[in-house]
């Protein structure tokens, strides 16, 4: 009887030790949850093969590599990302967030990584310009919780111009409604608007720009409990120093870039990230996205 008890204790201790050994490497590389509304090319979208791709996500992946932590990317509705970060369900919000005073009250932002203005999208056949797009009676579309929606609210509706603001779950849905000519204009950030014009095959055009001069940042929980912001800021600087940053910009925003290529390019090249070679990844991604020859890992 006694020996049996001892046997149990021994097995129990062994399990504990094995568990601890198994547990140690995991404790070394922390995993953080990155939340993004993955429906907004070229910053983040789901490609033809179902992969999560885009500028924001690559920055997150590469910063994690450089700073030695793991990330787990989650697809969330845009307006629920900040509440999720506040509630601690997400560690980082990476979804082309403009740094605003209102948001800064509830979350903390990284250094700005992108400057953007709002574009006014209209149907190419509508003949609307940036003034007539906002005349009384028009229906304007935007995504819920965005600075585009806020701009219409503040600068059109609050100025007493009687337009209807329709708020969609995602920008692609708003663009679809614009293509269907159910609404008159969509207000959204310039890079995404340009992609929308391209993918609409001539149905949409940019009527004009609104110089909002917004700065994008990655966001974390107030007070940055995981000390992520120094790592993100540092990582971004390192990316710039090593030329990774410019290659990513080339890959996603370059003039010859065809975003449809991303499915093939990302599938072929993500191995560079697995091998911890972000420079090679970014360089070859830029080449691949603009249709040049590239090197697989």
């Amino acid at each position: 009887m006694r020996s049996r008890v001892r046997w149990f204790v021994a097995v129990g201790l062994l399990a504990l030790v094995v568990g601890m050994i198994g547990g140690v490497p995991q404790a070394q590389t922390q995993a953080f949850k990155v939340c993004s509304d993955i429906a907004w090319p070229p910053f983040e979208w789901v490609d033809a093969r179902g992969q999560f791709v885009g500028f924001d996500l690559d920055v997150m992946r590469i910063v994690a590599l450089l700073k030695g932590y793991r990330i787990d990317i989650q697809n969330l509705a845009f307006d629920s990302i900040i509440p999720a970060v506040v509630a601690g369900q997400c560690d980082i919000g990476a979804s082309g967030f403009t740094i605003t005073e209102e948001r800064k009250r509830v979350v903390d932002f990284s250094d700005p990584y992108w400057e953007s203005n709002q574009a006014v999208l209209v149907h190419a056949a509508s003949g609307l310009n940036i003034i007539t797009a906002f005349k009384a009676g028009q229906i304007i579309g935007a995504q819920r919780g965005t600075t585009g929606a806020d701009w219409v609210e503040q600068n059109v509706i609050k100025q007493g111009i009687n337009v209807t603001l329709r708020l969609y779950e995602t920008y692609p849905l708003a663009e679809q409604d614009l293509i269907n000519r159910r609404i008159h204009a969509v207000v959204e950030d310039e890079p995404a608007a340009k992609v929308a014009v391209k993918t609409s095959r001539g149905a949409l055009k940019i009527a004009g720009m609104i110089n909002t001069e917004e700065l994008f940042g990655f966001l974390v929980r107030k007070g940055d409990p995981n000390r992520l912001l120094p790592r993100i800021n540092d990582g971004m600087k390192e990316m710039k120093r090593k030329g990774i940053w410019n290659n990513l910009i080339e890959a996603y925003f370059g003039v010859d870039v065809n975003l449809d290529r991303v499915a093939q390019c990302y599938a072929d090249l993500k191995g560079w990230l697995d091998r911890n070679q972000p420079e090679a990844y970014a360089e070859n991604l830029a080449a691949c996205m603009s249709g040049q020859t590239y090197r697989r890992p």
Binding site: E102, A149, N180, R181, R182
Partner: protein, 239 residues
């Protein structure tokens, strides 16, 4: 706009009651839209559903086949997919419904399939002999249905129909995705407007939204209970 405004100001800043007070008018506006949506959808569903039920019971082969196919298709696909088909799909055929109308048609045609099944069950619960008896005293098929079968079946159908009404009221919340300004849509806008009182306060805003839905459902259940009592014929209750 908000008549409660001055009163809300007296409540403690940032508190739950202050938030509830400040967003109540907009939420109630959304609730009114939810109600209209539900009522119109149920009426549409009642009409179409009754026709489908009659088609499945008394219809000839093609009518039976069509109504059965309709019921199977609608019950076999999610209401969200149906709304997308109607709202984002129909413009391909130059049909552009506004969000409110698209939601009524989507929810109504969806509810029709379920209502059809409830009606069918209720009609078939009336003994076959009654139909034969009605025909025997010289009624036409339609007269027998209208004067003998339906008056009984419609009473039997009240409890399951109340359920359907409650489901439709709650499912109407999916109409937010096609920008119908109902309760759910209003709640999401309040929680995602960075400058408003509900900014980023998802839990509190949706708690209030949940309570409003709950109150609506309880009131409707009570009302339909009363209707059921009112039209009851002693001896005809479902056992």
């Amino acid at each position: 706009m908000n008549l409660l405004g001055p009163f809300c100001q007296t409540l403690q800043d940032g508190s739950f009651v202050r938030l509830a007070c400040e967003i109540a008018p907009r939420l109630l506006q959304g609730t009114a839209t939810t109600f209209q949506l539900t009522v119109f959808a149920m009426v549409l569903g009642l009409g179409v559903g009754l026709l489908l039920a009659l088609g499945r019971i008394y219809g000839n082969k093609p009518i039976y086949g069509l109504s059965t196919a309709y019921v199977q298709f609608v019950r076999g696909t999610p209401v969200l997919v149906q709304l997308f088909l109607i709202y984002y799909g129909l413009p391909a055929f130059e049909i552009r419904l506004d969000p409110f109308l698209a939601a009524i048609i989507g929810l109504g045609l969806n509810s029709a399939a379920y209502q059809a099944e409830y009606f069918r069950g209720a009609i078939q619960a009336i003994g076959r002999g009654q139909m034969l008896a009605a025909r025997a005293v010289g009624m036409t098929n339609l007269q027998a249905i209208g004067y003998v079968i339906l008056p009984q079946a419609l009473r039997i159908v009240i409890p399951p129909w109340s359920n359907e009404l409650i489901y439709t009221l709650k499912y109407s919340s999916v109409a937010y995705i096609i920008t119908t300004p109902e309760l759910m849509y209003t709640g999401q806008i309040i929680a995602s407007s960075p400058r408003g009182p509900g900014a980023f306060r998802y839990f509190e805003v949706f708690l209030i939204v949940a309570v409003i839905y709950l109150v609506c459902v309880l009131v409707i259940s009570k009302l339909l209970d009363l209707v059921e009592q009112r039209v009851k014929i002693p001896g005809l209750e479902m056992r």
